[in-house]
């Protein structure tokens, strides 16, 4: 029972040192990149993993973009964006009235070498694509992108239903609309015409995967991506470090200068440094996610990273006073790439809500008054630090279907008009507490839900509260954890909330579907249900890109302005700052990363990093 050993506090120290020594024994992987061209950058958020069919976040997808090859892709330099083949022979046009899409994979495309192939070279075949598409619908994968192939491909929904019934999701059972014609050819048959379908195949996660790799690494497909792309995952410390290295088996690709803009210096530089070379040129890419803005920015300024994408808005005025590089940045030979991102932010009203919802004149007038009361110029100037364009419709520039001439007075900040509208519909102060009340006389207090740990969301809420107070409306802003916010929005348990949407593919439809009535509980968080809008939407789907379709889009945009299910926000402009030794930099609006088309002046990098 009693310890006779004389223990002194020193034993403590010894113990702790022992623990230390153990920690020190961790294998020190000193990957010394003597000759290698190494790129180091930060991601704004942590990745989740690299199983293309299981992921959604842009950072994980961005990594997949470099490990896997989608069938088709976007031309690197062409603006507006243009689809080009990547591993297929041609970009299919919708046959049979936009219901059939057939891809012919080029023979001789091989997967990167991996132990799972047991030393044999593994060629990419059409079956791999079929397998990947079926994976999207496999309940076991819980794919966030399963909606891409829902209610579209002939026989696929029935196949899934049957699998659900039998309890076995059998990949070997053929699906009529998902036909492997020969070793290299796969053909899709759709239930309804859908010309946007082709874009799916340029998405970096709609990529063929090797079944034996998926099944072989079944327990951790997230950590064992095996693809045909230019890079392989060398090292992955989750949420801390991602290292990509050149795939030695990669066939190589070249820069297509055909669509380059001769007036664009970035294009010209890309051609100068990358033209006629077999790409990729970077040997090793090290990525660390840094979620806090200050350290991410300071790390870049400290030359710890090659470039910084989506520089936090707060720092931009200092680096780009009046749109020009600051003297400090000039001294560092820094360059800036400004990107009008294919994304839109907006505030959504819950149309099912008794206060902000409804389709009566009074309801419409109330929402429109709220929109008019919101000072969007301040949003741009202060929340976005001038790095944004006012959104005139949900469709951002650079997206097919964007109409540069479309803008409406109903989106222009005008508190006088807002007040007039509120007065007109009886939203006046009835109980004399200084705040407007509902026409019924009941007190009016709006709630706005925003994401708890996001400073810009808070600022947005602050702006709302301020603007509404100016027109006499009381608003309460509630900070909610991300998961709760999603839940509340999905089930319509909110009045107002802020959202952003980035294009999955460059077509206006990707944005306009967000208000399609039947998409309520799916993606239509506004729960907007207007038969006229739905009619226009379904009609537009059946038509390929044409002036006729643009007209339909314009009509839909007008309805959005009139019924105001949203208060349109902005299209953000992102500033990517690049160190001088990074050569041929360009940012594609839809694709996530630039690693495939990039070079580094290793000597300049060494000199620069040491400064």
């Amino acid at each position: 029972m009693r310890w006779q050993v004389r223990k002194s506090p020193h034993d403590w120290v010894t113990l702790l040192f022992a623990i230390f020594a153990l920690l020190a024994l961790q294998p020190a992987t000193l990957a010394h990149a003597a000759e290698k061209k190494t790129l180091k950058i930060a991601f704004r958020a942590a990745e989740t993993g690299f199983d293309p069919q299981k992921i959604e976040d842009r950072y994980s997808v961005g990594i997949c973009e470099n490990i896997f090859d989608s069938l088709i892709t976007y031309d690197w330099l062409a603006r507006p964006v243009k689809l080009v083949p990547q591993i297929v022979e041609a970009v299919p046009t919708g046959e049979e009235g936009g219901t059939r899409f057939t891809f012919r994979i080029r023979p001789g495309i091989y997967f990167a070498d991996d132990p799972i192939f047991k030393g044999k070279r593994r060629e990419l075949v059409a079956r791999d694509m079929e397998y990947a598409i079926k994976r999207f619908r496999d309940p076991a994968n819980r794919s966030p992108y399963s909606w891409l192939f829902e209610d579209r491909v002939v026989g696929l929904d029935e196949f899934v239903a049957a699998a659900k019934k039998s309890g076995k999701y059998d990949y070997d059972v053929p699906v009529a609309g998902l036909k492997v014609i020969d070793k290299y050819t796969i053909s899709f048959k759709l239930k309804e015409p859908d010309y946007t379908f082709i874009y799916f195949f340029a998405m970096p996660n709609v990529v063929p995967v090797a079944r034996e790799a998926i099944e072989g690494y079944a327990s951790d497909t997230m950590g064992h991506p095996v693809g045909t792309g230019p890079y392989v995952l060398k090292e992955w410390v989750r949420r801390s470090k991602i290292v990509l290295e050149k795939n030695p088996d990669y066939r190589g690709h070249v820069l297509n200068a055909q669509y380059a803009d001769p007036a664009d210096p970035w294009d010209q530089e890309a051609i100068k440094y990358l033209g006629r070379k077999t790409l990729p040129l970077i040997d090793r890419i090290e990525i660390s996610p840094i979620e806090e803005e200050q350290p991410r920015f300071l790390a870049f300024m400290n030359r710890e990273h090659e470039y910084i994408e989506e520089t936090p808005f707060a720092f931009v005025p200092q680096l780009l006073p009046n749109g020009k590089l600051s003297p400090e940045m000039q001294k560092r030979n820094m360059r800036v790439f400004r990107e009008e991102a294919p994304e839109t932010t907006w505030d959504v009203f819950n149309l099912d809500d008794t206060v902000v919802g409804g389709y009566q004149s009074q309801n419409i007038g109330f929402r429109r008054a709220l929109v008019l009361a919101h000072d969007r110029e301040q949003e741009i100037a202060i929340v976005r630090r001038g790095q944004a364009l006012a959104a005139q419709s949900p469709v951002p520039p650079g997206i097919i279907g964007f109409d540069p001439t479309f803008h409406a007075i109903e989106q222009e900040y005008n508190p006088a008009r807002a007040k007039a509208l509120l007065d007109m519909f009886g939203y006046i102060d009835k109980d004399g507490d200084g705040w407007r009340d509902l026409p019924s006389g009941a007190p009016l207090k709006l709630t706005y839900k925003y994401r708890a740990n996001e400073e810009s969301a808070r600022q947005q809420a602050e702006l709302w509260a301020k603007c509404l107070a100016d027109v006499g409306i009381r608003m309460e802003a509630i900070a909610v954890q991300f998961a709760d916010l999603l839940k509340d929005r999905k089930v319509g348990k909110y009045q107002m909330s802020g959202i952003a949407w980035t294009a999955d593919y460059p077509d206006a439809q990707n944005f306009l579907q967000l208000l399609y009535g039947p998409n309520t509980n799916i993606s239509n968080d506004a729960r907007f249900k207007l038969p006229e809008y739905d009619r226009l939407y379904t009609q537009a789907l059946k038509i390929p890109d044409s002036p006729e379709r643009d007209q339909l889009y314009r009509e839909m945009n007008r309805i959005i302005i009139v019924y105001a299910p949203w208060r349109l926000g902005v299209h953000r402009i992102f500033n990517h700052f690049i160190n001088q030794w990074v050569l041929g930099y360009k940012k594609h609006p839809i694709l996530f990363t630039s690693f495939k088309y990039l070079d580094i002046d290793a000597a300049a990098q060494k000199a620069g990093m040491q400064q």
Binding site: M1, K54, S143
Partner: protein, 312 residues
């Protein structure tokens, strides 16, 4: 002593059960729906149902609780819902960086704190003593957030003495390059309260009868402080260290987010944001167990410092 340890371990069970119930109640009952986070930006009811089924959150609460308890007993918490990474793997890999920061912090804080405390206790009542205590109070009154923001800016960026952020796989590189600034910050912040506390421990002892005896023996003031007083003051100091010991396994999420340290604190924060229940539950249970085991270990270690302690 064996019986004592067995009894203490036995007593942990109801506490652990309470932790389990509280966490289960807080997160399963009232927390967000993980299915929605995982479902993606375009989703439908069927898919959400499918996800809920896969996660088992469609089961009745009692069943989920049963599964949870089974997980605890088998030490198998399954996989993270968000990243599909094995939860045990998450905990194991994250605790290393956290300890790399926190062990030096605790060591330095304790050692420096004790040394300074002896110093000021020796000169108690003088101007030096009062100024030191004043500095401590002022230092304690500034928010940790301010320290981090300012220090990262000044020492990491302006002066460039340390990297702004980062972490590597090499322990040596971490401890030499990346860890010093966060460690120094944490030490600086925790030193002031420790110093004040330790000083009061020393002063408590200085007025004890045995100190008078030691002086009556003819011992020098230095020997009295360094031998007789120190050894006795180590008992409450050890208690204090014992209290903060479980904390080193949690780490500071502020430090970890600002300095990009892939530690446990940051992981917990992310897990909560993502409603990643398996990670939250496992982390909580693990930390609760660590807390209890550490407390037990400290109590047993007491025996070594304080011969009066009887373990029964």
């Amino acid at each position: 002593m064996g019986a004592y340890i067995v009894r203490r371990l036995w007593q942990m069970i109801p506490t652990l059960l309470g932790v389990v119930l509280l966490i289960f109640f807080l997160f399963n009952w009232v927390g967000g729906d993980p299915a929605l986070v995982l479902a993606g930006k375009i989703t439908n009811a069927e898919q959400i149902e499918n996800i809920r089924k896969q996660l088992g959150v469609d089961q009745p609460y009692w069943y989920q609780l049963w599964v949870f308890i089974k997980q605890i007993v088998t030490f198998d918490f399954g996989r993270s819902w968000a990243t599909n990474e094995a939860v045990s793997n998450i905990l194991i890999t994250r605790v290393g960086p956290t300890l790399t920061i926190m062990i030096p912090v605790l060591l330095l804080e304790t050692i420096i704190g004790v040394i300074l405390a002896i110093g000021v206790a020796y000169v108690r009542g003088t101007l030096t003593d009062r100024i030191t205590m004043m500095i401590c109070t002022v230092a304690m009154s500034i928010s940790f957030l301010v320290y981090i923001i300012v220090a990262q800016y000044i020492f990491g960026f302006q002066l460039g003495w340390f990297p702004v952020q980062g972490w590597s796989d090499s322990f040596t590189k971490n401890i030499v390059t990346y860890a010093p600034l966060p460690i120094l910050l944490a030490v600086f912040v925790s030193l002031a309260p420790s110093l004040r506390l330790y000083r009061s421990f020393f002063l408590d002892e200085v007025n004890q009868d045995y100190v008078r005896t030691a002086r009556a023996k003819g011992l020098s003031e230095k020997t009295v402080m360094m031998k007789h007083v120190l050894r006795n003051a180590m008992i409450p100091i050890l208690t204090n260290v014992g209290i903060s010991l479980p904390g080193i396994f949690v780490g500071s999420f502020l430090l970890e987010t600002f300095f990009s340290i892939p530690g446990l604190g940051r992981e917990i924060l992310t897990a909560v944001n993502r409603s990643d229940f398996p990670v939250i539950k496992a982390a909580t249970v693990y930390l609760a167990v660590v807390t209890m085991v550490v407390n037990l270990a400290v109590d047993v270690l007491y025996k070594a410092v304080d011969p009066r302690v009887v373990l029964k």
